[in-house]
Subunit: 151 residues, 2 copies
């Protein structure tokens, strides 16, 4: 995160302060910020395998493995081996997880609201589109081994 106001620094600030906010908002929980994010992804698509979960959040699969471990230990998630292919685990939510869902969505809405305070509806759409494109550019760059592709 660069020093004058570069995109990198601003992204860093938003990322870190978001982390702080969610930690503050959920300080009573028995899981941390990381596992909570994986849990939220599962709310959207239950039954995913760990690799699918990793991909949905664009996180390393080792980070996923550890987060899932905590979610299982804390009773939010159940793992079931795939019947046909024993390499896979499918991930399912417990009632404890489901009870938590509304709080998580609320906090996320609030955070988005905070970030986009003072934005017009059009601007809210634009920042979303721009960030999506920037994240996509970053992902492609990474896939190419951090080499600039022509164009």
């Amino acid at each position: 995160m660069p020093s004058p106001k570069s995109i990198g620094k601003m992204v860093s600030v938003i990322h870190r302060y978001g982390h702080s906010y969610f930690d503050h908002e959920f300080s009573d929980l028995d899981i941390g910020h990381g596992p909570r994010n994986f849990l939220a992804a599962l709310f959207c698509r239950e039954g995913m395998t760990q690799d699918e979960l990793s991909e949905s959040l664009m996180m390393d699969k080792t980070t996923t493995a550890r987060a899932v471990k905590q979610l299982v230990q804390a009773g939010y998630v159940l793992r079931k081996r795939d019947e046909d292919d024993h390499r896979y685990y499918h991930l399912y939510l417990t009632d404890k997880a489901r009870d938590l869902a509304p709080r998580i969505w609320d906090a996320r809405s609030k955070w988005t609201e905070v970030l986009s305070k003072g934005f017009t509806e059009e601007e809210k759409e634009l920042i979303y589109i721009f960030l999506d494109r920037a994240a996509d550019n970053a992902a492609k760059f990474r896939e190419e081994g951090f080499k600039l592709s022509p164009g």
Copy 2:
């Protein structure tokens, strides 16, 4: 970092992939990503105290303390006590640091270029302005103890 394509998730991806990129680009160095960012901030304003440095990057002062320690140990930075107020350290660059500056600016330019690939000049300005406002909103929210201020 939420699961569908939320702002939070996209910011997380950009942040983490940027970290990966810079680690890759500077894998030969004797300092890591964190200290390197503090060093870059010092290129912009040499002589800052640690607290000023923390504030310029909006980072916790304990993170700064550890980064500065590494920068000093690796020979990039010199610390000098303030003559008048012995609580302060002022931070100065060594030649080793100065030699590194161009590489760091180049990598940063490249990263910005990567992120904004496919953006028009106007869009590049807009995402910058929007992120600045969002980061500012985040900072104010945090200062207020994560309470929504009216407006």
